[in-house]
Each structure stands twice: as C-alpha cells, then as structure tokens.
C-alpha cells in the first residue's frame, strides 16, 4: 500500500463515481435504515409509531473505506517528519431479529494500515512497525419493552492490534413520548485497554534485551452519551446531545518523541511524550434537520468542546441532500473545525526540560480544519438485485448503495482523502 497506489486509486475512483451516477438514476428506490450503530449496542432509536416493516428481515451492511493522509508533522519524530498513512477498513454489520421485539447485532471488521511515521520508531525504514492490522468484534442485544416506547440494549466487544488490546461494555436506554415527538436516549460505555510500551529505539533501556522496551500499561475510558430529540414542526426537528468522557491511565503514546530546546534536538536527546493520566471531556452538540422542499433537505450540526487538557473547539457541519429522483440522492457536505492547543503541546524543540508534561503531537495543536465532500445514495424500491445465499437457499436483496468521498485539510498542512461505501442487503 504505497503512495503511488493511493494516488492511482483516487484518480480512477472519481471518474468511476461520475460514470455511475447517471446509470443509478434509471431505477427506483426506497429509503434504507442508515444510522450509525454504537460500539456494541444495536440502534436503540424507538420507531414511532411501531413500524413492523423490517421485522423478520435480517439486515446486512458491508462497509468499507480507503483513507490516505499526508503531512510533515509526525509525532513519532517529535513534531516533524512524515504523517503519511493509509488505512483500508472492511466491516460487516449484521442486524438479526430474534422475534418482533428483540434484535441482536454484530459488527465485525478490520483496519489494515500502513504508517510511514510509525516506521521511524526504529529510525529504519521497512521495519515491522510500518504496517499493522487491527481486528474488532462487537456484539449487541436490544429489546423493545411492553410499552412499545422504550428500547434497552446491552453489548460488548474487543479490538486487537500489534501493541494494543481493548475490551468494551455498553448499555443503552431510549424512551419516546406517546406521540413520538420527543425522545430521550442514554448510553454508557466503558473501555478497558492494555498497551504494550514500545519506546523509540534510542530511548530503550540498555542491556535488557527487550525488543521494544518496557512492559505494559492500561487505560480506562468511560463515556456517557445523552441525546434528547424533539420534533418542532412538520418540517423541522432537532436534537441536543452531550458525550461526557472520563479517561484514566496511559494517555501518552510511548513512541512519540519530544525534543527540548536545551538539547538542540539531536537524536538521542529526546524524551518520550508525557501527558497527565487523567482526562475529562465535556462536549455538547446541537443537530437539526429541515425539510426545505421535496427536492432539498438541510442537515446541520454544531458542537462545542472543552476538556481539562485546555482544548476548546467549535465544529460546524452542513449537508444538503438533493433528490435527483425520489430514489437517487446526491448530497454535498461541508465541515469546519477549529480548536485551541492543549496546554502541554509545543512544536519541535520548543519544549523546556523544566516542563512537567510535554507533547509535540499535532493532533493536540491549535489549528482549523475544513472538510468538503460528495455522497451518492441509490435505493430502488425493489432493490438493486437479488441472489441466492448459501444459507439454506434463502434469497437476499441488494437493497441500497451509498458512496461517499471526503477531502480534509488542516491549517497544519495535514491533508486527507477518504472514500467510503455502504452496501445494504436484507434477507427475509
């Protein structure tokens, strides 16, 4: 997975989308369920009025994306050097009804990533650290209670990569009003992670014979997600949300170097990044959707973020789906993000040896970012096609296709391209 390949991929993908677009408008479509499932727990949005349309149907989504980024502020080399990274992420999401009120879900996938900056842990190109695969499995269970307005869910899962193991548990509760105009949902998640401490080559303790340094450390993350949604008019609704996060344990990345001004930045005088072992995040978001006309809808999102690392941020998103036909939607989207620097951040050789905490990771720097993109969704009434599955000869329906391209640019110089696809299938 090299730079040439990613450039070629993008060069051919864009014309392919343009060629496909008019072809896709020929047929007819129906909307498809399209919400983001949380880690572990299945979707707990209460259907109101109860909608039996999909009961008895197993839903299968195949998601995949190709991500590529580039920049020259790699944290591994103390705030300089390449940030080149590619990531390929196939994922399968299963949503299986056990009966009219109970569902189980599974989210299984992998990330194959190749990172030029991580390759510099050993100051040698083509070391084993240059690429890795992360595997993840999440399972969930949800049940609609007898009042038909409440859904509860439980879930759990794990992910594994070369130097990082993570387990998670989640529980959720959602309750809608009798008329379906209001809904409150509460979800809690806990992550229990263990990281192998891989130090830069020159910072490893001498004479211990360890390949990468130095044992293990742990991190715990607790996340409370509250969402209140409200219908305001026949064309307008909004939701306010917060996602409170508390993290404890290893929050530094041990192979991120920091160079100090007193040492002149020469190799061998770096220290490994050091951040506090507790972090609290307090974001709040406001989302609104407006049905402007039969042709155009407007989706907006604003988020304010604050944490105890000293970062404050504002994020604004706008999306305008345009219905080319009732079943073929083209949507443009734009996102603006700005954040202040963490109080522990300084660029290459700007930290002092007297600093208590220090990082040169530009993810924690002050910057603004813009993202623009285009999406296509095609969902014919009778699906794009049908085929026999190996599971008892059952016939599956290829229900909908969603394609999306995004270009992202930070004021730090980091750029990224992302192409995603979502293929929806149902099996009766």
């Amino acid at each position: 997975m090299n730079r040439d390949f990613s450039a070629s991929f993008l060069r051919f993908a864009a014309p392919l989308l343009l060629v496909l677009a008019p072809t896709l408008t020929w047929a007819q479509a129906t909307p498809t369920p399209n919400r983001v499932d949380g880690y572990g727990a299945p979707n707990t949005t209460v259907p109101n009025p109860p909608n039996p349309t999909n009961q008895g149907e197993t839903e299968v989504n195949i998601l995949t994306s190709y991500y590529q980024q580039d920049g020259d502020h790699g944290a591994v080399e103390g705030g300089r050097g390449t940030q080149h990274l590619t990531d390929l992420t196939p994922t399968i999401i299963l949503n299986i009804p056990l009966d009219s009120v109970t569902r189980v879900s599974a989210n299984v996938g992998m990330d194959y990533y190749a990172s030029a900056s991580t390759d510099r842990i050993d100051q040698v190109l083509s070391s084993p650290s240059s690429s890795d695969t992360r595997y993840h499995v999440d399972l969930g269970y949800s049940r609609q209670l007898a009042d038909k307005q409440t859904i509860v869910g439980l879930g759990g899962g794990f992910s594994k990569e070369y130097d990082y193991l993570s387990f998670n548990l989640t529980a959720s509760w959602a309750h809608a009003s009798a008329d379906g105009n209001r809904e409150l949902s509460v979800a809690g998640q806990a992550f229990f992670d263990r990281a192998t401490l891989i130090l830069p080559a020159e910072l490893r303790p001498a004479g211990r014979g360890q390949e990468h340094g130095s044992g293990f450390d742990t991190r715990q993350s607790y996340n409370l997600n509250l969402v209140y949604s409200q219908v305001l008019t026949q064309r307008l609704q909004l939701a306010v949300s917060t996602e409170l996060v508390a993290q404890r344990g290893l929050l530094s990345t041990p192979f991120h170097r920091v160079y100090f001004r007193e040492t002149g930045g020469a190799l061998g005088t770096a220290k490994t990044e050091l951040l506090p072992r507790q972090r609290y995040k307090y974001p709040v978001g406001l989302r609104a959707t407006y049905y402007a006309t039969d042709l155009v809808q407007v989706r907006g999102f604003y988020r304010f973020y604050n944490d105890n690392f000293g970062i404050q941020a504002h994020t604004f998103e706008l999306e305008t789906p345009v219905k080319v036909t009732p079943f073929f939607v083209v949507y443009l989207f734009y996102r603006y993000h700005t954040q202040t620097s963490a109080k522990y951040f300084a660029p290459y050789i700007a930290h002092s040896l007297t600093d208590t905490y220090y990082t040169s990771d530009y993810d924690l720097a002050s910057f603004s970012a813009n993202k623009v993109g285009l999406g296509l969704r095609y969902s014919p009434v009778y699906g794009l096609g049908r085929f026999k599955t190996p599971f008892g000869g059952r016939v599956a329906k290829f229900k909908a296709l969603d394609l999306r391209y995004a270009y992202y640019r930070q004021s730090t110089g980091l750029t990224a391209n992302l192409i995603s696809a979502d293929l929806s299938f149902t099996m009766p």
Binding site: R35, V36, Y228, L286, R287
Partner: protein, 82 residues
C-alpha cells in the same frame, strides 16, 4: 469528580444547557405533530444522526483532532497514535 465540578464550570454549564433545551422543547411540544403529518420527518435524510457511512470520517476526526466527542465518534478502543 466533585473536585472537577468545583474547579471547572463547563460541566455545569453544559448540563444546564441540556436541561434548558430539554425544558424549552418540552413546552414547544404543545404543537404536536401527529403520525399522519410526519411524511416529511420520516424522510431518510431527516434522521437526527450521522449516516452509517460517516462512521469512518468521525473515527479519523476523533484521532486527528484533540477535540473529539458528541458526534458519535470513537472515544476508546484502539490506539490511533500513528
């Protein structure tokens, strides 16, 4: 946690904002929209959540931006340190 609430005003501010919005929305719900009037609200693009296909973007943004959260993105479970 008590110490944090004493020293940092943001949690109380955010909680207050959420409760105020929830309260005002509750009053606004006097204008009830009946199920048969929800033809526009039931449109696929009117859902009050990220699309499933957006999950990769919210994940990479939560890695590349120190400020993550309240958008359905990832908050744990993986290093993201490259």
């Amino acid at each position: 946690m008590t110490k944090i609430l004493k020293t940092n005003p943001w949690p109380r501010l955010i909680l207050g904002l959420v409760l105020a919005l929830a309260g005002s929305s509750g009053l606004a719900s006097c204008v009830s929209v009946a199920a048969y009037q929800k033809v526009y609200l039931n449109d696929e693009d009117m859902k009050l959540a990220n699309k499933r296909i957006e999950v990769y973007e919210t994940n990479f943004e939560s890695y590349r931006e120190g400020a993550g959260g309240a958008n359905g993105g990832k908050v744990g479970g993986g290093c993201g340190c490259n």
